[in-house]
């Protein structure tokens, strides 16, 4: 699909808010066709009703009139479970630390806080949104390698916090095996490392300063995914929103909160998953319950008989299949 006719589905429960009005206007000025929905259900329905190049989702949907559970991150997980290269941009003025980490680990294409300017250019959040939509259209789908590719048994472990590095090293050895060679690097020295030659890259650093040089390191280490996958471990604190979302926007395989007492266990699990998904785009675990709730809107030109047959069809998905 050409850029001129690219179609976007925009979900936000505050259609009258100035930021939404301006964002819609800027996107339409930019030549995109934008369908706007106000609820989670409509967004899910939209996914099935037609092809969208990009989805823009709000996180906090508490203003929506329809009583539905979930938020933009839940919808992201569902979409990525249905197709692993669905491009979902979260555009929110709220969201919690948990949302940031969950969205990154569920492979959002981008997470833009409505208040945050672009750290590189200073563009405001709406300008960033338009830029990222354009960038997403220029990003070609990554073909999945046929069959499993064995990763090199080398791990690059990057960070400046000795205690985190020591803990992460022990977990890498335990999760991947003693035959894996672990190369440690400080954050800035990692600019000279060769991340593409690794089987996995782990960044373990409590906080990333939002300086251009640090951003360069992060961008370089994260650009190699999925060959190898990159796992980022840092502190999940509200005041670190800028750096956490910067990392989330570089497409890590997993993002873990070291303030969570279970982070080492999560790192072990993530390493195994990174090993499995080396050189491939991950397919998130589908949520059959959510799929089943979807009301599929059929195109108008579907024959009446087909329509009736589809509407009568039993959806034997998930737990309800046994009932």
């Amino acid at each position: 699909m050409s850029e001129e006719t690219a179609r976007i589905l925009f979900m936000d429960d505050e259609p009258q808010s100035d930021v939404v009005i301006q964002a819609l206007a800027r996107l339409r000025e930019g030549g995109f066709i934008v369908d706007f929905v106000e609820s989670l259900g409509e967004a899910i329905e939209g996914y099935y009703s037609r092809y969208y190049d990009v989805f823009i989702l709000d996180i906090d949907m508490s203003h929506q009139s329809i009583d539905e559970d979930g938020n933009g991150v839940e919808v992201l997980k569902l979409f990525v479970s249905l197709h692993n290269q669905t491009k979902v941009i979260l555009f929110s003025g709220a969201g919690t630390v948990e949302h940031w980490f969950q969205a990154a680990s569920a492979h959002c294409y981008a997470y833009i806080h409505k208040l945050d300017d672009d750290p590189e250019t200073g563009a405001d959040s709406i300008g960033r949104l338009v830029d990222i939509v354009q960038a997403s259209l220029a990003t070609r789908p990554v073909p999945t390698s046929p069959g499993r590719v064995a990763p090199p048994t080398r791990a690059l472990l990057v960070g400046d916090d000795a205690d985190l590095i020591m803990d992460a090293r022990a977990v890498i050895t335990e999760a991947l095996g003693a035959e894996w060679q672990i190369v440690e690097s400080s954050l800035i020295a990692a600019l000279d490392a060769d991340p593409a030659a690794q089987g996995v890259v782990v960044l373990a650093q409590r906080r990333f300063q939002m300086r251009p040089r640090v951003r360069d390191v992060l961008a370089r280490l994260l650009a190699v995914a999925p060959r190898p996958q990159t796992i980022v471990c840092c502190e999940g604190l509200d005041d670190l929103r800028a750096s956490i979302l910067y990392v989330a926007n570089q497409h890590p395989f997993r993002m873990l909160d070291v303030a969570n007492p279970q982070w080492l266990a999560q790192l072990g699990k993530s390493l195994n998953e990174a090993h499995i998904w080396y050189a491939q785009q991950e397919i998130q675990q589908a949520d059959p319950g959510a799929i089943r709730r979807v009301h599929i809107v059929l195109p108008e030109d579907v024959e009446e008989a087909t329509r009736a047959a589809l509407e009568d069809m039993e959806w034997n998905i998930g737990d309800d299949a046994d009932n």
């Binding site: 100035d18 930021v19 919690t96 409505k114 750290p119 959040s125 709406i126 300063q209 670190l240 007492p261």
Partner: protein, 460 residues
């Protein structure tokens, strides 16, 4: 039961005790095991020994194995598994012997001595926890129950002590899991005990589990924390701490939700203003609208900076041009003349533009107010900015009369002001200092102040 100590009945036992007391545990272990084999194979000596002697021998074997393990940094050492096995087997034999002793003399007897079983259970729990895995809780329950059958109070006390010990270091992930396991073990082994003291202890343990869930701080843990506190109240209805905890958690929930909503609403409102202003800036507006729009942009950036500072948001550095920044400022403050000096004032430097603006404007506004106070005529008002990029330094000097020497040392403290009380909060420079901290820099008053004004240095 023989009251004659083992070393008096069998002098060879002294050969075991010597390395044991000297903490040569590997040697003590080998000798104690050899001693046990010998007395078992020698019917005459074996027959003379009482159960308490055999209990003593097995205690020594267990503790020697434990000591050897500790000397080698845990069970993961080369023969760690073998030592662990020897420890647990000796503890098992110790328990069998004392259980028999208890059945033979249930009211009183040597088995009632508590120091040995306390140590053994404590060490058994430490070893089990060290090897944390899927079966850890089950294994711990098994051993605690074995001790509980003989010494109920002792076993529960040791378990609680272990729990409190691990809890003291709960910030470490391992200890966090250990606390959870031990707490679950306590609740399982005391489930059918009607005793009121145990009920109170159970409530305490449930409170600990509630704290743990709360401490984990991930999605859903608040519900889990509340669930545990509610169970604690069921176990001990008079538990006032549990009632207060429920009120605290529920109260915090309300406050957190209110703050979240407030932030959402202010963020959305500010983002809307930014969006509208950007839309205006893209239009060809007639004069004097562009100047007004520029002033609005500056004001909005300041609001955003303050909004971020209130949340202590980390700095986002990007290169900015100091000259452009000062030129923009000079349009906002037309009643003062700006002068930029320095070796390379056209160069750029790395900072967070919104935070830098707050610091700079704090200095400018302070100077403007001082100009007014000291009745400095507008044409004479001068602000000089000295830019030294090589030293990462910006100096701001004014000719507004200077700062009272009596408060110079306290000028960056909160609520200290040179102005009349009603005109100022005394927080401007204090906030500027805090913001410079977020920028990894500092602000200070130059040691030598100009005769007619003040001079501040910003170091980045």
């Amino acid at each position: 039961m023989s009251v004659v100590p083992l070393h008096q009945m069998c002098p060879a036992w002294n050969d075991v005790l010597k390395p044991f007391r000297e903490r040569d545990y590997q040697r003590a272990l080998e000798l104690a095991q050899a001693f046990l084999r010998e007395v078992r194979s020698d019917p005459s000596t074996g027959a003379e020994l009482e159960p308490n002697h055999f209990a003593n021998i097995n205690y020594t074997i267990a503790e020697s194995a434990y000591g050897a393990l500790k000397c080698r940094n845990g069970w993961q050492c080369r023969d760690g598994l073998a030592l662990r096995k020897q420890f647990l087997e000796a503890v098992g034999r110790y328990l069998q012997i004392t259980e028999r002793g208890k059945s033979e003399a249930p009211q009183e007897g040597w088995w009632q001595v508590e120091s040995f079983p306390s140590t053994l259970l404590d060490h058994a729990l430490r070893l089990i926890l060290e090897e944390s895995g899927d079966g850890t809780e089950e294994e711990a329950v098994r051993w605690v129950c074995a001790f509980l059958a003989i010494w109920p109070d002792l076993a529960l006390n040791v378990l609680l002590e272990a729990l409190h010990r691990e809890r003291a270091n709960v910030q470490h992930p391992r200890n966090f899991f250990h606390v959870r396991i031990l707490a679950q073990v306590y609740l399982r082994v005391t489930e059918d005990m009607p005793n009121e003291r145990v009920a109170r202890a159970r409530a305490l343990v449930m409170g600990i589990l509630s704290d743990l869930a709360y401490f984990a701080g991930v999605d859903g843990t608040e519900d889990e924390a509340l669930g545990w506190v509610e169970r604690a109240i069921e176990a001990n209805p008079s538990d006032q701490f549990a009632r207060q905890r429920i009120r605290d958690i529920q109260g915090r929930r309300v406050v957190v939700e209110q703050i979240r909503r407030f932030q959402h609403d202010t963020n959305t409102a500010i983002a809307g203003l930014v969006g509208n202003l950007s839309a205006l800036e893209r239009l060809a507006l007639p004069d004097p609208a562009p100047v007004i729009v520029e002033r609005m942009r500056r004001g909005l950036d300041r609001i955003r900076g303050v909004h971020r500072y209130v949340q202590r948001q980390q700095a986002e550095f990007r290169p900015i041009s100091l000259r452009e920044e000062i030129e923009r400022l000079s349009r906002v403050y037309p009643h003062v003349q700006f002068r930029i000096t320095g070796g390379d004032d056209r160069g750029s430097f790395e900072t967070d533009p919104q935070y830098f603006q707050i610091v700079l404007e704090t200095l400018i506004q302070n100077a403007m107010e001082a100009f007014e106070r000291h009745h400095v005529p507008v044409p004479d008002r001068l602000l000089t900015v000295l830019f030294e990029p090589a030293r990462g330094r910006v100096t701001v000097r004014d000719n507004a009369g200077g700062i009272d020497p009596r408060i110079r040392k306290r000028i960056f403290e909160p609520y200290v002001s040179t102005k009349a009380v009603k005109q100022a909060t005394g927080l401007g420079l204090s906030n500027a200092r805090a913001i410079m901290g977020l920028l990894d820099g500092r602000i200070y008053l130059a040691a030598i102040q100009p005769a007619d004004g003040s001079e501040f240095t910003l170091e980045f």
